[in-house]
């Protein structure tokens, strides 16, 4: 047993000694590094390391949580006492005791499969890699901001629970991206590759970043940013909407993932993040999408940012349909929440941001299963539409129904042909109407996992990571607004 696992196990024992009915402890060691070039200058070059322990206890039917930085064993008694005292102080205000589903919580180890360890590569090589990508962004005077980013994270977690289970996980996440912002005549437009807001991330090694071919895509990004400054604004009206994967993934995230979190459904997130229209009376019956829509949650899929051995309840990862053949089929749950819908086992979705935060239900990797179309055929089959690419802006209501999204770029489709570029394509809709209008999904050769490294939920807010796989898809008769 490592010293860190001993620390977690000792924290659990200490908690039991001072009165915990149940306890689990997580010692986390997080290594991060990030590099960022802005207009060719290295504006961000940083390594980080944090380590701490979070102890969760259940006493008299109430949760308590205490966390401390570092690995000082002498702090454990105070940490345990604080957690237990908090639970005792709060239990009197509970209307019903919290109980846990009887999931198997067993010992084991899990490591992200990595071909090229990003932390083994020299910082000099990483900076040189970014500089090479930046070359592709250069050469246009009206490009006022060139950004190239790279980030790596390695999170090690030693989890121990009061049933004796011990789990070790080592999760590696790696990603990069380029973007160019052009300004001309008062118009400012940005293009990004492979995704906006820092790039695309995956549970993988540096091989993921190498596979992106940032240099040649940087040129395309630069040129499109410049072209966008003189492109017309996408007109308002009703047309077919064709979404590329790096926009569709956010649609999955916001209009399927979040409304599917069971704590949100029961109003426990309503104070900040909001509630959900996907109430329990709809489970198993509700027409969430058209019958070609299959959305699968999977915390075992290769490369997913939430692919791991277990969640922070210690429950093993799994795979299930959230929407099956268009019908609403299942929720994201935890040991605390599974019984609320009559399920005896958790879906393994309870996760926290590091040692500092207690776990809450989070979206896991959630993907739209591929269809049968090629992108070319889907375009050729569209009479009047807009092909939209890359997240620019998103907003969705507190029940996850009314949404409005803007993408970085669009192209008009007229009579089966991809036509002129348009800027700021903005569409507004309603979640079930949107998914029910899906009549074409591209095939597996177009399918790709897209990482969301910055999902916020909870209050105080926590950040979690997950991936959404999809291929381009078509949604009939959507409303474009200006």
């Amino acid at each position: 047993m490592t010293d860190y696992m001993k620390l977690s196990a000792a924290a659990v024992k200490e908690a039991q000694k001072v009165g915990a009915d149940y306890a689990d402890a997580r010692t986390n060691l997080l290594q991060t590094e990030s590099f960022g070039l802005h207009n060719g200058a290295l504006e961000n070059a940083s390594m980080g390391e944090e380590c701490g322990l979070g102890l969760r206890v259940l006493v008299d039917g109430a949760w308590g949580y205490a966390a401390t930085v570092g690995t000082d064993k002498s702090a454990l008694h105070e940490v345990a006492t604080r957690a237990v005292n908090a639970a005792r102080a709060l239990s009197g205000a509970r209307t019903e005791p919290i109980t846990l589903s009887p999931d198997d919580v067993v010992s084991g180890e899990y490591r992200t499969p990595v071909q090229e360890d990003p932390f083994a590569m020299s910082a000099a090589d990483k900076v040189a890699f970014l500089q090479e990508a930046d070359k592709g962004l250069q050469g246009e005077d009206c490009v006022v901001a060139r950004d190239v980013n790279l980030g790596n994270r390695r999170e090690r977690q030693w989890f121990a629970a009061s049933n004796g289970a011990e789990q070790y996980q080592e999760l590696v996440r790696c990603g990069a991206g380029v973007s160019a912002t052009a300004a001309k005549n008062g118009v400012v437009e940005r293009r990004s590759f492979p995704a906006s807001f820092g790039g695309d991330y995956r549970a993988a090694g540096f091989e993921h970043v190498r596979s992106m071919d940032l240099v040649s895509h940087a040129r395309q990004v630069r040129d499109e940013a410049v072209q966008l400054t003189t492109a017309p604004i996408c007109e308002a009206g009703t047309r077919d909407l064709l979404l590329m994967g790096n926009q569709l993934m956010l649609q999955i995230h916001e209009s399927v993932g979040h409304p599917n979190e069971l704590d949100r459904v029961f109003g426990h997130e309503v104070d900040l993040a909001g509630a959900s229209f996907a109430t329990t009376d709809k489970l198993g019956e509700y027409q969430y999408g058209s019958d070609i829509v299959n959305l699968v949650a999977d915390s075992t899929v290769e490369g997913g940012l939430d692919t791991r051995g277990w969640d922070d309840d210690g429950v093993a990862s799994g795979r299930w349909h959230v929407v099956k053949d268009g019908i609403f089929n299942g929720y994201h749950t935890s040991r605390e929440w599974a019984k609320r819908i009559g399920e005896s086992t958790s879906r393994s979705c309870n996760r926290s941001e590091g040692w500092y935060n207690p776990p809450i239900i989070r979206i896991t990797n959630l993907s739209l299963m591929p269809g049968t179309w090629t992108l070319d055929d889907m375009i050729a089959d569209t009479e009047d539409g807009v092909l939209c690419d890359t997240v620019k802006m998103w907003s969705i209501d507190q029940r996850r129904l009314n949404f409005q999204f803007t993408t970085e770029i669009g192209w008009e489709i007229k009579d089966g042909k991809k036509g002129r570029m348009v800027r700021k394509p903005t569409y507004q809709g309603n979640t079930p109407d949107f998914w029910r209008s899906c009549d074409a999904i591209c095939n597996e050769s177009h399918w790709q996992l897209w990482g969301v490294p910055n999902c916020g939920k909870g209050n105080p807010m926590q950040v979690a990571e997950m991936s959404h796989g999809c291929s381009p898809a078509r949604f009939r008769n959507q409303s474009f607004v200006v």
């Binding site: 940083s46 390594m47 949580y65 570092g70 604080r82 104070d271 969705i396 507190q398 607004v481």
Partner: protein
């Protein structure tokens, strides 16, 4: 926690630690300048919902940031590293990490000197806020639960208390430290009328000291906003005169804070200030400052570079003023680095300066008179998930939430189902026709808080509706 036993929340001991880290770094042959920032955060929170307390945490953390520079052949090379420990071994590891990146970094194109000696206010962390625990929070939560249940509604909320100390030291003799505290209690009440999902109300109280929170007033306001038992009407999307309460104003103005009032956005031509500085782009009635030292809520007295935060006029009777700066953008703006307005990030950073403490001057019209002055319009409590479509025009979209009401002939006549707005902040701020006399502080879904009164805006644009 053991952490607080070792270091206390005293910023003096953090300054000692930052100084030690700088001295250890500077002792390395490869490091010629160094700057260290050390912060300690002690937090206690309890979340609650219909079943009572649902989650809590008692926690503390240290964050350590080291910025180093090496000099070679007249060129400066810079990098940073972050950690969470003040032990000697950890400090040495941090120095080694930062130094190793500085060794391979490209030379700084326009190096600035680190900031030298300055005097700043050290602030105060309220002792009661720092020691406020779950037992004290449970008492307030029980009152909220009882009040909500008495009207047949479901409560959800957060009671949070935080103490924070921060210190910065560097090799140019800058030694600054500060202590602050923050307490907040927020309650959302959801009525039973629409399957438990519609008819909600919200209120929040935020202050530097927990003893100054108006908890019972917040509970009463949230319940009142939920308009339990009242049927919700519907209005068509379109343009309306609106009274935006402070939380709604806050969620709009925060985007000017994130993307507009900073000098980097101006330099890179993405700010709404571009080509508008010195022009009357907002209504006459609007005067806005960035003010870290507002009596309602005090924030840290210095920025990420240790520069004293100045109170900066951003909008003067509707006329847009110059953006806030950090040391780099103070120089790029034609001044000296020491003329920074004190709005920089911890360096090195790709983020430019930002105005994080927006304060809108109060007007003279009471809340009741604001409503009384509207013939046909909407009262808006809060916006949800506001986001930015276009930074130059500050085009925003978002949803109303937790209390939308129809005003007819100066009276609130009924609660309404929610609407989505799509509106330019510039256009909206130009159409402000009245300013409330009562200030409040509130935030939104993303980071930040604004101190503002309610505003009356004519012709505010809504683009779609919901059925709840």
């Amino acid at each position: 926690m053991a952490l607080t036993k070792n270091y206390g929340l005293g910023s003096e001991s953090l300054l000692d630690a930052a100084t030690e880290l700088v001295e250890r770094a500077y002792a390395q042959d490869s490091i010629h300048e160094a700057e260290a920032t050390v912060s300690l955060t002690v937090n206690s929170f309890v979340r609650f919902a219909d079943t009572g307390p649902t989650q809590s945490a008692e926690r503390a953390k240290v964050d350590v940031h080291l910025r180093v520079r090496r000099e070679e052949d007249g060129q400066l090379y810079e990098a940073s590293a972050t950690g969470q420990s003040l032990e000697e071994v950890a400090m040495d590891k941090l120095i080694e990490q930062a130094s190793s990146i500085a060794a391979i970094s490209p030379a700084l194109e326009t190096p600035l000197e680190l900031g030298g000696h300055v005097e700043v206010c050290t602030g105060t962390c309220d002792a009661e806020t720092l020691t406020h625990g779950p037992r004290e929070k449970a008492a307030a939560i029980k009152r909220a639960l009882a009040a909500a249940q008495a009207v047949g509604a479901s409560p959800a909320g957060l009671f949070d208390t935080t103490g924070r100390a921060v210190a910065l030291a560097n090799t140019k003799g800058r030694l600054v430290r500060n202590e602050t505290s923050r307490a907040s209690f927020a309650l959302t009440v959801t009525g039973p009328s629409e399957g438990g999902l519609g008819g909600s109300g919200w209120a929040e109280t935020i202050r530097s000291k927990v003893g100054e929170l108006d908890i019972d007033g917040t509970i009463a306001t949230a319940i009142d906003k939920a308009a339990i038992g009242q049927e919700r009407g519907a209005v068509e999307p379109g343009e309306y005169t609106v009274i935006l309460e402070p939380a709604a104003v806050s969620s709009l103005l925060l985007f000017a804070s994130y993307y507009g009032f900073g000098a980097k956005e101006v330099a890179e031509k993405s700010s709404f200030l571009c080509d508008r500085i010195g022009t009357k782009a907002f209504a006459d009635k609007l005067t806005i400052h960035d003010n870290w030292d507002h009596p309602m809520y005090q924030t840290c007295s210095f920025d990420g570079e240790g520069s004293p935060k100045r109170v900066v006029p951003l909008v003067d009777a509707g006329v847009l003023q110059n953006p806030v700066t950090d040391r780099r953008f103070a120089v790029l703006g034609g001044g000296t680095a020491d003329e920074s307005t004190g709005h920089g990030e911890v360096q090195p950073s790709g983020d430019g300066p930002s105005a994080g403490c927006l304060c809108v001057d109060a007007g003279t019209t009471s809340s009741a008179d604001l409503i009384a002055g509207v013939e046909h319009g909407l009262l808006i409590t809060q916006f949800h998930y506001t986001n930015l479509i276009d930074p130059r025009e500050m085009m925003l979209t978002g949803m109303t939430r937790n209390g939308l009401f129809l005003i007819e002939n100066g009276r609130i006549v009924k609660p309404l189902k929610n609407l989505r707005f799509t509106e330019s902040l510039l256009r909206a701020m130009k159409r402000v026709t009245d300013v409330g006399s009562e200030l409040d502080i509130s935030g939104a879904l993303f980071d930040g808080e604004v101190i503002t009164p309610a505003l009356r805006i004519d012709g505010f644009r809504f683009t779609s509706a919901t059925d709840f």
